[in-house]
């Protein structure tokens, strides 16, 4: 590798930190999936390859005691055997459908980590799994997780593995989670176009040219929260919602609103807002924060 002749990287050239490009490059470099997102990917890969998740000890595999017995042996088994064990098994079907419930997935994979540690095992991927992996009757229940390894795609993917080893063997139709803007959400409050009529204090230096910004609204909401004034924070969040319903900071606004609602003791509203949030932004970087908020402020 001709490493020596490579030019210095932009990030190194802009190291003083004051340059927005340098900062943006740094930030982008540091981004990545959360542990939970990676766990879902692990599950998805296993399903697509026809390997049952490690720690799937039985129909009640979500119990947390999944690190023993059948789980260990199926984890250590070569692909074909492991798939065989699942094939046609009602228990397996039940078990698989439970993976698509995100809560169960979290607990299960906690077990999976244990199993993987104890059975450092080599599975021969070269052996293609049988096509008919899962009984077709199994239906994945609706889940906010965009995990694509439904039984249908799982068997289709396995079929692809048998028939083709091409780079793009996974030409299964993508069940892409299309970003939706729920019409019913805030239907009564159509967002007016941002205009100069806003009464919020404009940012310093911006008076003449800039209409009041969504940044200002979210900033103020955040400051109100920090100042232990959840009612004001909620009001600011509402204002933002009215003006910039699907704005750039809509997710931030929602997190602030939920936080404020919880502090005001309006847990039920916060929870329904959290549900909508997860449905609308299944991949949000704030998803975990929302969960943590709800967990840590339990009544």
């Amino acid at each position: 590798m001709k490493r020596g002749s490579d030019p210095p990287r932009l990030r190194e050239l802009l190291r003083d930190g004051s340059d927005p490009l340098g900062g943006a490059l740094e930030d982008m470099r540091e981004e990545g999936p959360s542990a939970e997102e990676l766990r879902r990917v692990t599950l998805g890969v296993r399903m697509a390859l026809g390997v049952p998740p490690a720690g799937s000890g039985g129909p009640n595999g979500g119990s947390g005691a999944a690190g023993s017995g059948a789980a260990g042996s199926s984890s250590a088994a070569p692909l074909g055997t492991a798939v065989g064990a699942l094939k046609g098994s009602a228990a397996g079907a039940k078990l698989i459908s439970s993976f698509f419930v995100p809560m169960a997935a979290g607990v299960l994979t906690a077990g999976a980590v244990l199993v993987t540690v104890t059975t450092v095992t080599s599975r021969k991927i070269a052996a293609p799994p049988p096509v008919d992996v899962v009984p077709p009757a199994v239906q994945a229940p609706p889940s906010p997780a965009p995990l694509r390894a439904s039984p249908e795609t799982s068997s289709a993917a396995s079929a692809a593995a048998v028939t083709s080893d091409s780079q793009h063997a996974t030409e299964t139709p993508l069940a892409t989670p299309v970003f939706r803007r729920p019409g019913q959400w805030n239907a009564a409050a159509p967002a007016p176009p941002p205009s100069g009529e806003n009464q919020m204090a404009p940012l310093p230096g911006n008076e003449a040219t800039q209409p009041p910004t969504e940044l200002a609204l979210v900033n103020e909401a955040q400051e109100a929260l920090a100042a232990r004034d959840p009612a004001r924070a909620l009001a600011q969040a509402r204002e933002h919602e009215l003006r910039f319903r699907d704005g750039m900071l809509a997710q931030e606004r929602e997190v602030i609103a939920m936080d404020a609602l919880l502090r005001l003791g309006r847990r039920r509203e916060a929870e329904s807002r959290a549900l909508r949030f997860h449905a609308q932004y299944p991949q949000s970087a704030h998803g975990r924060r929302v969960d943590v908020l709800l967990q840590t402020s339990s009544p």
């Binding site: 590798m1 932009l10 879902r40 890969v45 070269a126 390894a149 080893d165 800039q210």
Partner: protein, 180 residues
């Protein structure tokens, strides 16, 4: 990275593959223009491909990393093509530019980050790939060229062009920031 002995023996542990590479793959896909809503699915695709094709991996011909990135680049490219064909836009909310200025350092940083994403989006595919792999993943240029499948010299000129575009876009960004 996966131990080369394991790679050579053609065996692997799926959890290990994801643990070792999932993070890289996820990031690269996002930067290569896979809409964030699709990243988990495409990441899964890549890792499935990796698991399936591992027996084909030839450590003599390429480093594991450039092989892996090669798969990312091709899968991301396929995905974008499919999206274009379906004219679907499953993206999270993209900020509209020019964005209003802000005094808030943290928000300002996020704004720059979002802007960089838009700028990358505006690059053509080849330039974007080279830029991402060299500037963000910090692969050596030789590996970048291998991953995207072009001659080294071409990779250099793409990098040069991409940098020029990014830097000039950020000059404009800085101008709007300084002149309220």
């Amino acid at each position: 990275l996966l131990q080369s002995s394991r790679v050579r023996s053609g065996t692997l542990d799926i959890d290990e593959v994801v643990a070792d590479h999932g993070r890289f793959v996820w990031r690269v896909l996002g930067r290569l223009g896979v809409p964030s809503a699709d990243v988990p699915d495409v990441c899964q695709d890549v890792l499935v491909t990796v698991c399936r094709r591992l027996p084909d991996f030839d450590a003599e011909r390429a480093s594991f990393r450039s092989w892996l990135y090669g798969i990312c680049v091709r899968t991301a490219s396929d995905h974008r093509r499919r999206l274009r064909a379906r004219k679907e836009q499953p993206v999270d909310v993209l900020p509209e530019l020019p964005l209003p200025a802000s005094q808030d350092e943290e928000l300002e940083r996020r704004r720059a980050r979002a802007y960089l994403e838009q700028v990358l989006e505006s690059l053509d595919e080849g330039k974007r790939e080279v830029f991402v792999l060299y500037e963000l993943e910090e692969l050596p240029m030789a590996e970048v060229a291998h991953a995207v499948g072009c001659p080294l010299q071409t990779a250099y000129s793409r990098l040069h062009a991409a940098r020029k575009a990014v830097e000039s876009a950020f000059r404009r960004f800085n101008d709007t920031r300084r002149c309220p």
